[in-house]
Amino acid sequence: MHGDRAVKDDKAMVGGFGSIDGQSVMFIGQQKGRNTKQRQMRNFGMANPDGYRKALRLMKMAEKFNKPIVTLIDTPGAFPGLEAEERGQGEAIARNLKEMFMLKVPVICIVIGEGASGGALGIAIGDRVLMMENTWYSVISPESCSSILWRSWDYKEQAAEALKLSSSDMLGNKLIDGIVPEPLGGAHADFEEAANKIKNIIKENLTELLAMTPEERIDSRINKFADMGVYN
């Protein structure tokens, strides 16, 4: 499916209906591209506001036809460009956060690569938020964190360490709900096997979520995120 019905079709964000063993599902995710030409077309997986609005349009459609939603997150961040600001990057992400909490259908979000900042969160409000074993998810990329806190890109390893952005750290801090194991050597070593593992996890979680009423799902989705935070 293409387009946000307002400005354009953002090629960094893709989505459409698919099927898992007979169950129709709305899939939405960032797309980075696999070679230089594709990466340019996909803007390296950095969506503009139009991408977030397309995602929301598809989610609302899924809700209308009562189909569960699966989002796949892989982005170095929302695009920091001139036109992105003109068309309201902040507003587009904010609206998605708010609207996703009220979706009546099950929502499963899986980080499959990079999960950076609001650009990732903009499609990552779900009943289940999962990370693949070797991915990262945080408020900022280690590169940018290094350049802000140490004023140089040379401290990115140190920044990555400090941000506690790995799947096990994120699970330990109760900021995600689970980890999808990867095949030996990582997901890139065996796409088929990695995809199978994701499929099984989606099916398991969908069974649980479909047993709940929409109100129960919305309540527990809100309560889960409302409990995140450490203070005295």
Binding site: A78, F79, P80, G81, L82, A84, E85, E86, R87, G88, Q89, G90, E91, I93, A94, R95, L97, K98, E99, F101, M102, S117, G118, L121, G122, I125, Y137, S138, V139, I140, C145, I148, L149, W150, A162, L163, K164, L165, D169, M170, N173, L175, R221, I222, F225, A226, M228, G229, V230, Y231, N232
Partner: protein
């Protein structure tokens, strides 16, 4: 032989006994206008000569908005933890302690409930002086609780944003505060309780991409910087200089993301009329 004979000795006071001229009596705006602090204060911290809106904090906004500065502060005791044991050039708890000492604040937001021109209002207001107004767990939680209070008592909610975005030292936790506050605002919206978002200079990053842009009314002060990405990041990304006035509140209004811009001297009257219109 010298032409003049110095009769008195030169400066003979040792540096450590030097008397400082009292600091902060005068304020100079970016366009060079100079104004006495007392006059600035009686003018809602707006310079009368060039209408420059000086950055102020929660104390000043509460003073300007609440009738007779009477309000009940909500959750004033909340302070930050250090969930990630974070350290850059300084340990995070040390940074918090230093900021608390410098500003006299507990964290980067304060909430209060009181009356403006007789109408009930809950206000959460950010303080930029506290680690750049950055949003960590305390900020998220205090805003969430202020919204809960609005929801429970059916009182309109005003959020005054002033922030550089998420607080890096709380990484994943600070990211999730965007989600938490948006969830609460979704509930407020369902309950049809009005939410006014005032974006002040500067409002950027994760704050713009969550509660600041979710108002029933998004309003701002003149000349405020409002954006998602900061201007420096955008300049580096596109490799060009940014157009004049880019990301100013006037620019954001023109592109359709604000309802109106209000001079701080009319803020209280304007808010009152909005609340009144929705109530009657």
């Amino acid at each position: 032989m010298t032409w003049f004979q110095r009769k008195d000795k030169g400066i003979s006071t040792p540096t450590k006994e030097k008397k400082e001229a009292p600091d902060g009596l005068w304020y100079k705006t970016p366009s060079g206008k100079i104004i006495h602090i007392r006059e600035l204060r009686s003018n809602q911290y707006v310079c009368p000569e060039d209408d420059y809106h000086v950055r102020i904090g929660s104390k000043e906004y509460f003073e300007i908005l609440f009738d007779d500065n009477q309000f009940k502060e909500l959750d004033e005791g909340l302070t930050s933890g250090d969930p990630l044991d974070f350290k850059d050039s300084k340990k995070y708890p040390d940074r918090i302690a230093a900021s608390q000492k410098k500003t006299g604040l507990k964290d980067a937001v304060r909430s209060g409930v009181g009356k403006i021109n007789g109408y009930d209002l809950v206000i959460s207001c950010m303080d930029f002086s506290f680690i750049g107004g950055s949003m960590g767990s305390v900020v998220g939680e205090k805003i969430a609780r202020a919204i809960d209070y609005s929801l429970k008592h059916k009182i309109p909610f005003l959020m005054i944003s002033k922030s550089g975005g998420a607080r890096m030292m709380e990484a994943g936790f600070s990211l999730m505060q965007m989600a938490k506050t948006s969830a609460k605002l979704a509930l407020l919206s369902e309950a049809k309780v009005p939410y006014i978002s005032l974006l002040t200079d500067p409002t950027t990053g994760g704050v713009t991409a969550s509660y600041a842009m979710l108002g029933d009314f998004n309003i701002s002060e003149p000349g405020a910087l409002i954006g998602f990405a900061g201007p420096r990041v955008i300049r580096e990304t596109i490799g060009k200089d940014l157009p004049k006035g880019f990301q100013s509140s006037e620019f954001v209004l023109e592109h359709g993301f604000l309802d109106f811009i209000v001079d701080r001297r009319n803020l209280k009257a304007k808010l009152t009329s909005l609340i009144k219109l929705l109530k009657n």
